[in-house]
Subunit: 251 residues, 2 copies
DNA sequence: TCGAATTTGTGCGTATGTATC
DNA sequence: GGATACATACGCACAAATTCG
């Protein structure tokens, strides 16, 4: 049996006093210098102890001001659903349910499919696609980025070539595809957790390598099984939770 | 303008020599002591410099052996599926499809539900639950952690109180619940991307705050709508992708 | 097989910078 | 502006892991 390190002793002592109710959310905690004096060690040990609690999300530190007990209010999470019935305007509707104002910016251009995109769309590399870049905002703050690709072979010669122009703008993939008689059914989603790239971090207002939820979403034509749209969606890890499946009703 | 800190000077010097090709993947780099002598500082500064490069993923450190240039090999991704038909022994079967040997360790104990768990299970705080901690290994390397909770009110008085003991060990939630006549249907999953806690990082062999995929999975009794099992699953972000939905067949 | 040398990891103290009040 | 408080940088001592003769 070895003695636990002093900084861990102090951290666990504080943890117990916090969860025990001696300190409540918002309370100011002892300074690192006080902590060191109380335990007969140098201030750096107290700072190390607080670092543990900050990492655990129990405490927040404010430079020059002190350490405070973190409230239990979960940073309001926006929810992204995977629905059996694909709905229209998925993003705006989703954030509206959270009480925020959802808007987005977009930019479309024709391009040729690279190897990865072609693979996902089941077409040959170099075939023409319509690429659209989205930035989604909740209350004017960027919270989500997306890039979508649709084969021109599917949408060409129709009113919906440009996803966000004309009479069918902003209604979502499922509804737009219905216009040309395509039933897309439920999307297939591949979900990863990774660090934000520098560009994503800048766009989302987070630090590079901060965790993001990266979703690769593909819609298929239910009748033919052919992919009709694929997209890369990137969301701030601290603000989004993706929900799959539905809670059964209780009789 | 301020002078950059010595540890950063050393780190950038090394970074340039690595990307410049002086060191190639697998090469052993100077020890922290050498680095300190070369730059006229203490070894801890060299160690700090390496910490930067390790965090950037450019270098790996081996305790007692040295620092090495990291290869660019992208780690093969294991896949986790969300299936319409809940299968038995989900983990072992999943990794077997990837050509790895899946095993797990576990530890069960009775406990009382805390506020969050009670909420998720639809029971009162303090009611008894069976808590089981899992560590999943692929080829003996930990790749996934899980903690599950089942209300004793559901499993009590049956052969399946202990999830991993007796004749029904290791068969997964869905199959075990069938034994007592409960149809759990499809789980509801809430997926987040966040940084690994210190404990998770140690268990998974990754750096603290490296991205992980955190899944909150709950099974419901289809007949009554009551939750029968909930679990927190944590996976290495660089090794797992969660797939939801199935690709339609092409006629 | 074993032990000494080498190397990285951890813990902690001190000095200094910077933000807050 | 002064006092207080946290953040960063660095040096040192010791522990743990590895390597090699």
């Amino acid at each position: 049996m070895v003695d636990p390190a002093p900084y861990l002793v102090i951290a666990e002592d504080l943890r117990g006093r916090i969860v025990g109710g001696e300190f409540t959310p918002g309370d100011r905690l002892p300074s690192v210098a006080e902590l060191g004096r109380d335990h007969g060690v140098s201030p750096s040990v107290g700072a190390r102890a607080y670092a543990v609690l900050v990492e655990d999300g129990l405490v927040i530190s404010r430079h020059g001001a002190g350490h405070y007990v973190r409230g239990t209010e979960s940073p309001e999470l926006l929810v992204r659903r995977h629905r059996a019935q694909p709905e229209d305007s998925p993003f705006a509707q989703g954030v509206a349910e959270q009480g925020a104002a959802g808007t987005w910016r977009h930019e479309s251009a024709t391009a040729t499919a690279d190897a990865d995109t072609a693979e996902r769309l089941g077409i040959g590399p170099g075939e023409p696609v319509m690429r659209t870049e989205y930035v989604y905002l909740a209350d004017d703050v960027p919270v989500q980025l997306a890039t979508s690709w649709e084969p021109i072979a599917v949408t060409g010669q129709s009113m919906i070539v440009l996803p966000e122009a004309g009479p069918h703008a902003g209604i979502g993939v499922a509804a737009r595809m219905r216009v040309i008689g395509v039933d897309v059914g439920e999307a297939v989603e591949r979900v990863r957790s990774r660090g934000a790239t520098r560009a994503e971090a800048t766009a989302l207002g987070i630090n590079p390598s901060a965790p993001v939820l990266a979703v690769e979403r593909t819609y298929y034509d239910q009748a033919t099984g052919r992919p009709v749209e694929t997209a890369d969606v990137v969301m701030r890890g601290d603000r989004w939770v993706a929900v799959y499946g539905t809670v059964p009703a209780r009789p």
